[in-house]
C-alpha cells in the first residue's frame, strides 16, 4: 500500500487541476457526500469532537498493527476535508501516523480550514487521530515499579493527556489546567483543576471528561474533581510543548 507521503502527493496532484475555489469546494462536497459514515452506534459522545460551528465524530480500530478510522460531521465541507485526512491515514501504522504532518492541506489551499478560530472541530480531530496513534503504538513492556501510588499517579497523568478543551488542540494537562493530583494507593484520586475562563459554557463538560478519563484508569476506585478559579489560570501555566503547539513560542 502507498505511504502517507505518496497519498498526500496524490491529493496535491488531484487538486492542481482546480483553477478556482468553487471547483475545489464542489469536489470537497462530493467527497463529503461519498464518505462512508461512521456506524450510527459509534456516533456517541465518546467519539464526538465539538466545535462551535460544526461537530465531528471519529472512531478508530486497530487491525494487524494498522489503524482504521470512520468519521462523520454535520458540515459537509468539513466532512470533505476529513475524507482527505482519512484517505491519508486510514490503514497506516501508528508510528507512521505520528511521524506525518498535514502540510499538504496548506499546499492545496485549505489551510484556513485548520485555523482554531474556525472552530469546526478539524484541529481537534487531527489531534485525536494522533492520540489514537500514540495510545495504540506497540509499547515495550515497562518494568513494574515498587511505589504503587506513584505508578497510579503517572497513569492518571497519562489519562489527563487525553482530555481536551474542545476549542484548543492541547490537552488539559499540558495546558496547565490541572493544579493538583493526589492518587492514593487504595485507588482514591483527588484532582484540583481550573479552566481557561470562568464563564466557559462547556465547563461542566470538561470536568465530566476529566472525571470519566480518570475513572477509566485501571486501579482507580473513586475520583473527586474540584473546580477552582483561584489562582487564576494564565498562559504561563502552559508547558513549553503546549506553547509551541499553539504557535506562542
Amino acid at each position: 500500500m502507498k505511504t502517507i507521503q505518496e497519498l498526500q502527493a496524490d491529493i496535491v496532484d488531484e487538486f492542481s487541476v482546480f483553477t478556482d475555489w468553487m471547483d475545489k469546494y464542489e469536489y470537497l462536497i462530493e467527497l463529503g457526500k461519498g464518505m462512508p459514515l461512521i456506524d450510527e452506534k459509534d456516533k456517541t459522545d465518546d467519539h464526538l469532537i465539538r466545535g462551535c460551528q460544526s461537530r465531528v465524530w471519529l472512531s478508530c480500530r486497530k487491525e494487524d498493527g494498522r489503524l482504521h478510522f470512520a468519521a462523520d460531521s454535520d458540515a459537509i465541507i468539513t466532512k470533505g476535508i476529513i475524507s482527505l485526512l482519512l484517505k491519508v491515514y486510514d490503514g497506516q501504522t501508528p508510528e507512521d501516523i505520528l511521524a506525518a504532518d498535514e502540510g499538504f492541506l496548506e499546499q492545496i489551499g485549505l489551510k484556513e480550514n485548520l485555523s482554531p478560530t474556525r472552530a469546526n472541530g478539524l484541529v481537534s480531530m487531527i489531534q485525536t487521530i494522533k492520540d489514537y496513534a500514540a495510545n495504540l503504538r506497540e509499547k515495550p513492556a515497562e518494568a513494574p515499579r515498587a511505589d504503587a501510588s506513584r505508578d497510579l499517579q503517572d497513569d492518571v497523568i497519562a489519562a489527563l493527556r487525553n482530555v481536551y478543551d474542545p476549542e484548543i488542540p492541547v490537552n488539559v494537562y499540558e495546558l496547565g489546567l490541572i493544579y493538583e493530583i493526589q492518587a492514593e494507593p487504595d485507588g482514591q484520586v483527588f484532582i484540583k483543576m481550573t479552566l481557561t475562563a470562568p464563564n466557559c459554557p462547556i465547563a461542566d463538560e470538561v470536568v465530566a471528561q476529566v472525571q470519566e478519563a480518570v475513572a477509566d484508569v485501571p486501579g482507580v476506585k473513586d475520583v473527586q474533581v474540584e473546580l477552582v478559579f483561584e489562582p487564576e489560570w494564565t498562559v504561563d501555566r502552559m508547558s513549553e510543548e503546549a506553547k509551541l503547539e499553539l504557535g506562542m513560542l
Binding site: 475555489w21 460551528q53 460544526s54 465541507i77 459554557p201
Partner: protein, 408 residues
C-alpha cells in the same frame, strides 16, 4: 447623507470580490468621524482621567465625560449619575448580576429571564443564582419567536414575590423581533419586580428613551452602534445604583482609603474602578451623532424597511428555507434574519458565501437554549445595518441560492 462614503470599511474587497458586510449584529463598522477621533485623541488627549491636575489629563477627562453626556442625551437619562461606562453589554450585565444580587437576592428567590436571551444575559444570572442559592426561571417564546405579556403576568402572579428581577432582551440577536419592553416593564413593576433590558441590538434598531420605558436598568455595547470595541453602558435608576455595593475595587472608585475603612466615590465613578477605556468612551460623541443622523434621515429609514421587506419576501421562496423570528406585525421585525435551509448545513453555507464576499454568521450564535427551542444546533444569520443596500440584498439572495444548490 451619503452613508456609504462615511464608512470606509465598506470599500474593501474579500477574495477579490466586493465585501458585503451582513454581520452587523455582531459588530458594526465605524464611520470616519469615529476613526478620526480615535486617532486624534491618541495625540491630543492621552492622559489618565479623573486623576491629575495637568492640562492633558483635563482634556482627557473632559472628552470622557463628554462621551458620557452623549450617552445620557441619546437615551434621555435624567443625569450623568445614571450612566456607568463599562467595557460592553456583558460587563454591564455582570455588574448588575453581581452587585444587585449581592444586595437583594436570597436563597429560594428567583430571577426571571426570557428564552430568547444571549448567553451574556443568561450565564451571569446563573452564576448569581448559584452564589445565593436562588434559581432561574425562563419565560418561553412562541413559534413565531414572540414573548407573551399574558404569560409574564401569570408567572409573576404565581411567583408571589419570589422573583427579584426580570432580565429581558429588547431585540433578540437571533430573532430580530422588537419585544414589547415598555409593556413588559409596566407589568413587572405592577408586581414590584425591577427589570433589566438588554439593549445590545435594541439601541441600534429602536428609539430608546429610558425615562419613557421606565426600565430599572438598560445595558448596551458601543461597538454595535459605530463606537470602538471595549465600550459599553449601564444605565441604572439612581436608587438602585446608590443601594448596590461597588463592583470592582481599585483606583478612581474611592473617596478616602485607610486600611480600616474605605468610603466610595459618588455615582457613577463608584462603579468605574481602574483606568477606563477613555478614548473609546469619548468616541460615543461622534458615534451617537452618526446614529442620530441616521435615525433622523427618512430616506435611510425607508431604505432599511425596503431591505427588510425584500428579504422577508424573498428568503422564504428558497426551497426548504425556514426563517426564525416572524412576528405577527411586520413593523416589529428588524432587518436581521436567522434561518436554516434543509439539506445545507449553516457552516457550509457560511463558508461558501464567504468565498463569494458575503460576511454572515453561522453557528449557535451565543444563544444555544433558543436554538434548541427551535430544534436546531446551528443557524445562519444575515444582519443588516443602515449602510447596506437593496442591491446587496439582491446579490445575497442569488448567492445563497447558488450555495444551496452546490450543497444539495
Amino acid at each position: 447623507m451619503d452613508i456609504r462614503n462615511e464608512f470606509p470599511a465598506l470599500e474593501q474587497q474579500a477574495y477579490g470580490r466586493p465585501l458585503v458586510y451582513f454581520d452587523n449584529a455582531a459588530t458594526s463598522q465605524r464611520p470616519r468621524s469615529v476613526l478620526e477621533m480615535q486617532q486624534r485623541l491618541g495625540v491630543e488627549a492621552n492622559a489618565n482621567v479623573h486623576r491629575a491636575i495637568h492640562y492633558l489629563s483635563g482634556e482627557a477627562t473632559e472628552r470622557y465625560e463628554a462621551g458620557r453626556e452623549a450617552v445620557r442625551a441619546f437615551i434621555n437619562a435624567p443625569a450623568r449619575e445614571n450612566i456607568v461606562l463599562t467595557s460592553g453589554t456583558t460587563a454591564s450585565v455582570n455588574l448588575v448580576a453581581t452587585c444587585f444580587c449581592a444586595r437583594y437576592l436570597r436563597a429560594g428567590d428567583r430571577i426571571l429571564i426570557s428564552e430568547a436571551e444571549h448567553h451574556s444575559n443568561i450565564v451571569p444570572w446563573q452564576l448569581a443564582c448559584e452564589r445565593h442559592g436562588a434559581s432561574l426561571e425562563v419565560l418561553p417564546v412562541d413559534e413565531a419567536g414572540e414573548l407573551s405579556v399574558e404569560e409574564l403576568e401569570r408567572r409573576l402572579s404565581a411567583a408571589e414575590g419570589c422573583i427579584k428581577l426580570l432580565a429581558v432582551t429588547h431585540i433578540s440577536n437571533i430573532l430580530g423581533i422588537v419585544n414589547p419592553v415598555a409593556e413588559i416593564v409596566a407589568v413587572a413593576h405592577k408586581h414590584g419586580v425591577p427589570v433589566l433590558v438588554d439593549g445590545a441590538q435594541g439601541i441600534v434598531h429602536a428609539p430608546v428613551d429610558v425615562q419613557a420605558l421606565d426600565s430599572d436598568f438598560y445595558v448596551f455595547s458601543g461597538h454595535k452602534i459605530y463606537a470602538p470595541t471595549g465600550t459599553g453602558v449601564l444605565y441604572g435608576k439612581r436608587e438602585w445604583l446608590e443601594a448596590m455595593p461597588p463592583y470592582m475595587g481599585g483606583g478612581e472608585m474611592v473617596d478616602t482609603v485607610t486600611f480600616e475603612k474605605t468610603t466610595y466615590a459618588p455615582l457613577p465613578l463608584k462603579f468605574e474602578a481602574g483606568t477606563p477605556n477613555f478614548t473609546g468612551a469619548a468616541c460615543f460623541v461622534p458615534a451617537l451623532e452618526c446614529a442620530r443622523a441616521i435615525g433622523e434621515d427618512p430616506a435611510l429609514q425607508d431604505a432599511q424597511r425596503a431591505m427588510r421587506d425584500y428579504l422577508l419576501e424573498e428568503l422564504p421562496k428558497i426551497d426548504g428555507l425556514r426563517l426564525y423570528g416572524t412576528p405577527r406585525e411586520k413593523a416589529h421585525k428588524i432587518p436581521l434574519f436567522s434561518f436554516t435551509v434543509e439539506g445545507a448545513f449553516p457552516a457550509d453555507l457560511a463558508q461558501i458565501l464567504d468565498k463569494m464576499g458575503f460576511a454572515v454568521r453561522s453557528g449557535h450564535m451565543c444563544a444555544e437554549p433558543l436554538l434548541r427551542r427551535f430544534g436546531q444546533t446551528s443557524m445562519l444569520r444575515a444582519s443588516l445595518a443602515p449602510y447596506n443596500t437593496l442591491a446587496e440584498c439582491e446579490a445575497f439572495v442569488k448567492a445563497l441560492r447558488r450555495a444551496v444548490n452546490m450543497l444539495r
